[in-house]
């Protein structure tokens, strides 16, 4: 009997590794391969033609791809920063409340439970130029006589999409930062008061550093599913009109499913995966750094 026993931790992790390998890793390897072929769904034999990096060269020289890529990065930067600021603000506001705090916290969790597709639909309805709530209010109160083309005009459409995205995800930040505020020790705050710190100084030098790990948890969780924005954009504008709100993800879906050019779409897919991974790794590192600083590691 010279059967080597696998270590227990590995046995426990094995099912997770197996299922992820089967459903995520292998398809991803396949898509990596197909991104080097001119694969089209309508012509299966094209899967066996190797074209090297032609697909990548093609997207790297494609203006449409770059504008979608730039728009995606811009979108993520604006959205994540605003979510953090609003989340922090809301958490501080709710933390100050003395009566009905639990109810407020529950209300705060509403948007988290909405399906992204539902959020997209909801705001498609609200921003609809004809029957939407926003235009109805604007016109009834006489702020604007003409219907504003919320989902047609480039700038307004981007604003609407960002609004939907921020509406959906700010609560993640608010809830987690609020949890951080609750866990905060009272002593340093009182000491600061005794030493004559202003409210802003106390916040800047005591509260904020303590909240950092919580902020990074929220950022990490968010970075895991930034691509959820796809659902919102897909249903609100579908990347249109005329590609004015095209993000990396909608462009990819269009190339893959509508144009059936899987090879090319998979090449774009890899760019988007890389983008997500960069975000995630960055925040994980920040998270462990913040933890180590506070002596919470180990």
């Amino acid at each position: 009997m010279f059967r080597r026993r696998l270590p227990e931790w590995f046995v426990l992790l094995l099912p997770a590794i197996l299922v992820i390998a089967a459903v995520v890793l292998i398809p991803l390897l396949f898509s990596l391969y197909s991104s080097f072929t001119p694969y089209r769904l309508t012509r299966p034999s094209s899967l066996w033609r190797w074209v090297g990096t032609a697909n990548y060269e093609r997207i790297l020289t494609d203006a449409k791809f770059w504008s979608a890529f730039g728009r995606t990065v811009l979108f993520l930067t604006i959205v994540l920063n605003l979510e953090l600021v609003f989340g922090l603000g809301i958490a501080l506001l709710v933390n100050k409340v003395t009566w009905g705090q639990r109810t407020l916290r529950t209300v705060l969790m509403f948007p988290m439970m909405f399906s992204p597709i539902l959020v997209g639909f909801q705001f498609k309805f609200i921003f609809n130029d004809n029957v939407g709530l926003v235009n109805n209010v604007l016109q009834s109160t006489g702020i604007s006589d003409a219907a504003l083309p919320w989902l047609v005009d480039e700038k307004l459409a981007m604003f609407s999409i960002m609004f939907a995205e921020i509406w959906m995800s700010t609560s993640v930040f608010a809830i987690l930062i609020l949890a951080g505020l609750f866990a905060m020790p009272r002593d340093p705050l009182e000491a600061a008061k005794v030493d004559g710190c202003t409210a802003f100084q106390t916040f800047r030098h005591i509260t904020l550093p303590f909240l950092m790990p919580f902020i990074f948890i929220a950022m990490t969780i968010r970075s895991l599913d930034v691509a959820r924005a796809y659902d919102i954009v897909q249903i609100m504008t579908g990347g249109g009109p005329a590609r004015r709100t095209e993000l990396l993800w909608t462009l990819m879906a269009r190339t893959g499913y509508v144009d059936a050019r899987m090879g090319l779409a998979n090449a774009m897919g890899y760019v988007s995966i890389l983008l997500s991974i960069v975000f995630t790794v960055y925040f994980f590192r920040k998270l462990s750094a913040a933890r180590a600083e506070l002596g919470m590691g180990g």
């Binding site: 997770a16 299922v19 396949f30 705001f123 709530l133 990074f216 948890i217 879906a253 994980f284």
Partner: protein, 287 residues
């Protein structure tokens, strides 16, 4: 005296400002959802009215059409609901079992490259659904499991496992090691010690991880929209699109289906909200 008064006035002004800001923020959070609920009870004529009608009337027309089956332009909501339920419940149960064992491994064992394994597993969760749906579509089509519950369940299990590991790891970490050591001294095997001592303690936390996984599957769209084709396997998020035609949208019907989608999610959230926050922060902060 004067300074006192000024001070008091400033405090009062701050208090009012605080209240007003909070009110505006909460309104922004609540109104979109309430608007959907409200419109699901309004007749289509009124929703489409121009100029808008501000005094809502009440009708159950959309719900009647929705539950009335496939006739009169109705959408097979029952089938979608059933599909969603089957896929979400089964994938959650499997993901919890697999994730729990993984989370236990991270919480209780020391091994080389632990942080690396952890981040590695999380990275698979970060793969965008759309990007994954392309190859998954091709692979599943080859295997002939496209448009089946099985295919979707498989995809959702893989999607939910990493995050379940994160959450359960946090909960198991909170349980003192001495607990299962004592049980083992009393003659339990490690397996028994886990099920009889540690599992009951972490049960509420695991339940919240389960609800998180359930909601992810319940709400997922990017994968489901490609991996399902027919009434036999479409889930509700995909079914929502049935209400949109080329140029017209049945807003009222969509609102009614949206309400049907939100209600289970909200109920589940109410039940576990406390544990959910604890799980996310403990898993993260004390990693």
């Amino acid at each position: 005296m004067d300074r006192n008064l000024a001070h008091r006035n400033r405090r009062r002004a701050l208090k009012v400002a605080h209240f007003l800001t909070l009110f505006v923020v909460m309104s922004i959070i609540c109104i979109p959802g309430l608007w959907i609920v409200l419109n699901s009870f309004r007749p289509t004529v009124e929703i489409m009215a121009k100029p808008p009608v501000w005094t809502p009337s009440f009708t159950l027309e959309h719900y009647r059409a929705m539950f009335g089956g496939a006739g009169e332009g109705g959408v097979p909501v029952f089938s979608y609901f059933r599909n969603s339920l089957i896929v979400s419940v089964v994938s959650t149960a499997i993901a919890i079992l697999i994730g729990m064992s993984g989370g236990y491994a991270f919480a209780r064992y020391r091994f080389r490259g632990k942080a690396g394994w952890f981040v590695g597993l999380m990275l698979f969760r970060a793969v965008p659904g759309v990007a994954l749906s392309l190859p998954l579509f091709i692979v599943f089509a080859r295997l002939g499991i496209i448009d089946t519950h099985f295919g979707l369940i498989l995809a959702y299990v893989a999607m939910n496992v990493p995050f379940t590991i994160w959450l359960t790891d946090g909960f198991f970490r909170q349980i003192p090691k001495e607990l299962h050591e004592a049980a083992e001294i009393d003659g339990c095997t490690r397996w028994q010690a886990f099920w009889k001592v540690e599992f009951p303690v972490a049960r509420s936390g695991i339940a919240s991880a389960a609800i998180f996984a359930f909601l992810t599957s319940w709400n997922e769209f990017a994968l489901a929209s490609q991996l399902t084709r027919s009434v036999g396997s479409k889930t509700m998020p995909v079914g929502l699109l049935d209400f949109t035609a080329e140029f017209t949208i049945n807003w009222g019907g969509m609102c009614a289906l949206a309400v049907l989608m939100i209600v289970p999610a909200l109920i589940l959230t109410f039940i576990v909200q406390k544990h959910l926050i604890a799980g996310l922060t403990f898993g993260g902060v004390k990693g």
